[in-house]
């Protein structure tokens, strides 16, 4: 398969270049064409199903981006933002699907990157993540068992507005009004 026969370093350069190009596109059809090409490559590499899996998360992120940009700016910006996220996401997806972390770190080490940091990282990143998820899951269970989410929760140190608090609040509002109107 061509994707995995390329040297990880050349693929990395392609990825960086593609990302730069995608960042410079400011018209929707440019981004749409780029995304189309990336998807064709995805299909040629038989990664279509995996990409659909990715879309669950990436699609949601792009949709959120679309809504936020649409509300904050306008429709055109929203379309651009969503398309850009999708195409850059797909480019990274292609890179990582065709390059194992070990292959990448080995290639970088050959180029003279620091050995220890890079060799440990891919070996440790996976288990660390898995352990982090396991721990998070166990903690969530422990929280649940101590009434997490119970309605009517009270606090040991409940915030309490005393006379001083009221005085300071009223005073500052009054000061602001004075400055504005006088």
């Amino acid at each position: 398969m061509i994707g995995s026969s390329l040297d990880p370093r050349s693929k990395l350069i392609v990825l960086l270049a593609a990302t730069c190009v995608l960042m410079t596109f400011h018209r929707w059809f440019e981004l749409a064409i780029a995304l189309g090409i990336l998807l064709i490559v995805t299909l040629l590499l038989h990664l279509g199903l995996a990409w659909l899996g990715l879309l669950k998360g990436l699609g949601f992120a792009a949709f959120t981006f679309f809504i936020v940009a649409g509300l904050a700016f306008d429709l055109a910006t929203a379309v651009l933002a969503a398309l850009r996220l999708l195409s850059i996401g797909t480019a990274f997806f292609l890179f990582f699907q065709t390059t194992s972390p070990e292959a990448l770190s080995n290639a970088l080490i050959k180029t003279g990157a620091p050995y220890r940091a890079l060799r440990y990282f891919p070996a440790l990143a996976g288990p660390l993540l898995i352990q982090a998820f396991q721990l998070a899951d166990e903690l969530a269970e422990a929280m649940e068992a101590r009434g997490f989410g119970a309605p009517g929760r009270r606090f040991r140190y409940e915030p309490n507005l005393r006379l001083l608090d009221w005085a300071i609040m009223i005073g500052s509002i009054a000061a602001a009004l004075t400055v504005i109107f006088i």
């Binding site: 070996a123 440790l124 996976g126 288990p127 898995i130 352990q131 396991q134 721990l135 166990e138 903690l139 969530a140 269970e141 422990a142 929280m143 649940e144 068992a145 101590r146 009434g147 997490f148 989410g149 119970a150 309605p151 009517g152 929760r153 009270r154 606090f155 040991r156 140190y157 409940e158």
Partner: protein, 545 residues
């Protein structure tokens, strides 16, 4: 009745097998119940189902009905159920989630919606009950394992539940910690709170419970008083029986003694001959270490000192380990056992003094070179796993070290029953299977010295037997085995020599029987002789008279 299971079956999402099956159970207020069973028998699931975490948190399929305080757990969320039943989880590192101990204790009370003054009252009560006054401002992650567990217990006890569940609470405790937990549980009982305790090490708690339930493959097999249950036929359930009961059973005697005095009384009353026990002990005593003439040193430490920052951990340790020996490193949590063991494979290096392993000075030899000779199986196998398949996990070491011998590794896979698991992810395995993978990984480079850190913690009886056999095989092959353990019964049976550590000092070194007969050294290391040893000693004295 505080807790009731009516024909309850449950399976986790995506699993075909039932974790618990057709379970009927009724727990009354004031009862204390011990739940026993081999790994995977459904003990933890029973705990989770009791407080509604199964099915609410874990999803999956539940049939039948669990009633907690009269509430059907399926119809009520966990935040309504948690006031009736509390669970102390197995892993002490994964149940504290606040920034101080104080906040930890208050969390559940805040969930209950109590007023600040009621919260204060409960906090004072629970701090005093469990003696936590000195820990109250500490950060949870700086506590020791035993302290974390005590805080977790306090945090749920403050809720004054009607029933308390504890999932394998003795696993990580040293003998003194275990004694402290027992007295805490007695206090809790005196407060009128029922408890269910899940435990492999039956002898830790058997005298403090009035009911014993045995689970096997998700089904309840026996339910009765501890004596009733243990005098029945329980050989197929993988239980780690109390040591004296084990001796009596091996001799074909029906009685179930839980203490040495009881065993002596039963023997007197039933005219059972002490000599039979002594002969039995003689036949079952372990193979002695290598003969002095064949002694070849593997580890030689002289005046070894080590400190973490300013805190001294090892203070002038002298020791020698010979080829083919099985040695146990014993002492309190924090006595320096694991720190010493980490010196053997070069993970740590002495600040002062010298240490030679297979003739190599560890201060001048790289850890990777030592790894060729020294295998290390960690207490928690999750800390050791890092590859995507079991095969990779085991073979990475020998490949990197250029010590890969396919025949040896295949034999290892077969020996540890890993054949069918080779292509699976080590993270997807059960804890017992993970432990086996970690053993295989530690042995894969054919090391001459192998260190097992708490190998029996949380393991059932079949696993212990297998481990014992493995140790003897390794010894026969001329390998040296170091056990780091709190499990004195196991260490007394399978190690020919004990090294007692106390506050970084090697306070005694010798055969287990000699050390157990030395009350000063034992007390200094926070230990008491095993029940088996006490019985044998008393019988020996008796036969002399």
């Amino acid at each position: 009745m505080i807790l009731r299971f009516d024909k309850v079956s449950y399976r986790y999402p995506g699993m075909a097998a039932w974790a618990i099956h057709d379970l009927d159970l009724a727990i009354h207020p004031d009862e204390s119940v011990l739940v026993a069973g081999a790994s995977g028998s459904g003990k933890s699931t029973l705990c989770r189902a009791s407080i509604g975490l199964v099915p609410h948190f874990h999803r999956g399929e539940l049939t039948g009905r669990v009633l907690l305080g009269g509430l059907d757990t399926r119809q009520h969320p966990v935040y309504q159920l948690f006031r009736y039943a509390s669970l102390v989880f197995q892993n002490p590192d994964a149940q504290l989630f606040n920034h101080t101990v104080e906040a930890e204790l208050a969390y559940g009370l805040e969930s209950l919606g109590l007023s600040p003054s009621d919260i204060e009252e409960r906090l004072t009560w629970v701090e005093k009950l469990l003696g936590l006054e000195s820990l109250i401002r500490r950060l949870p992650h700086t506590l020791s394992g035993g302290e974390k567990q005590r805080v977790a217990l306090a945090a749920v006890l403050a809720l004054r539940p009607r029933i308390l569940l504890l999932d394998e609470p003795f696993t990580h405790l040293d003998p003194e910690g275990a004694e402290q937990l027992r007295s805490t549980l007695r206090l809790i009982r005196s407060e009128g709170i029922a408890f269910i305790i899940v435990e492999h090490r039956l002898h830790e708690i058997i005298t403090d419970v009035d009911r014993l339930i045995v689970l096997h493959q998700g089904e309840m097999k026996i339910d009765g008083s501890p004596r009733q249950v243990l005098s029945g036929d329980i050989s197929t359930y993988g239980l780690n029986l109390p040591p004296l009961v084990r001796i009596f059973r091996a001799l074909g005697w029906e009685k179930t003694p839980f203490s040495v005095q009881e065993a002596l009384r039963e023997m007197d009353a039933n005219h059972l001959s002490p000599q039979i026990v002594l002969n039995f002990q003689e036949q079952n005593s372990i193979v002695a270490g290598p003969a002095p003439s064949a002694y070849r040193p593997v580890v030689e430490a002289e005046d070894l000192w080590f400190h973490y920052k300013d805190r001294p951990v090892l203070c002038g340790v002298d020791l020698k380990l010979g080829q083919g020996e099985c040695v146990a490193l014993i002492g309190r949590n924090g006595a320096g056992k694991t720190t010493l063991a980490k010196h053997f494979n070069g993970l740590l290096r002495p600040n002062r003094g010298s240490l030679k392993v297979f003739g190599l000075d560890t201060r001048k030899t790289s850890a990777s070179k030592l790894a060729r000779h020294v295998g290390f199986a960690w207490q928690n196998p999750n800390d050791q796993l890092f590859r995507t398949t079991v095969r990779e996990e085991v073979l990475t070491g020998p490949r990197v070290l250029q010590a890969y011998d396919p025949a040896w590794c295949n034999r290892l896979f077969e020996r540890l029953g890993l054949g069918p698991l080779l292509d699976r992810s080590p993270f997807s395995l059960s804890e017992g299977q993970k432990k086996r993978v970690s053993f295989a990984a530690a042995l894969a480079s054919q090391p001459g010295l192998i260190i097992f850190d708490e190998p029996t913690a949380g393991q059932d009886d079949p696993f212990r037997r297998e481990l014992a056999q493995l140790i003897h095989e390794l010894q026969r092959e001329g390998r040296t085995v170091v056990l780091v353990t709190h499990d004195l019964e196991f260490a007394a049976r399978h190690a020919s020599r004990w090294l007692l550590l106390a506050e970084g000092h090697m306070i005694a070194d010798g055969p287990p029987d000699a050390l157990m007969a030395n009350p000063t050294a034992m007390a200094k290391a926070g230990l008491r002789p095993t029940q088996r040893f006490q019985l044998i000693q008393t019988l020996k004295e008796k036969t002399k008279e």
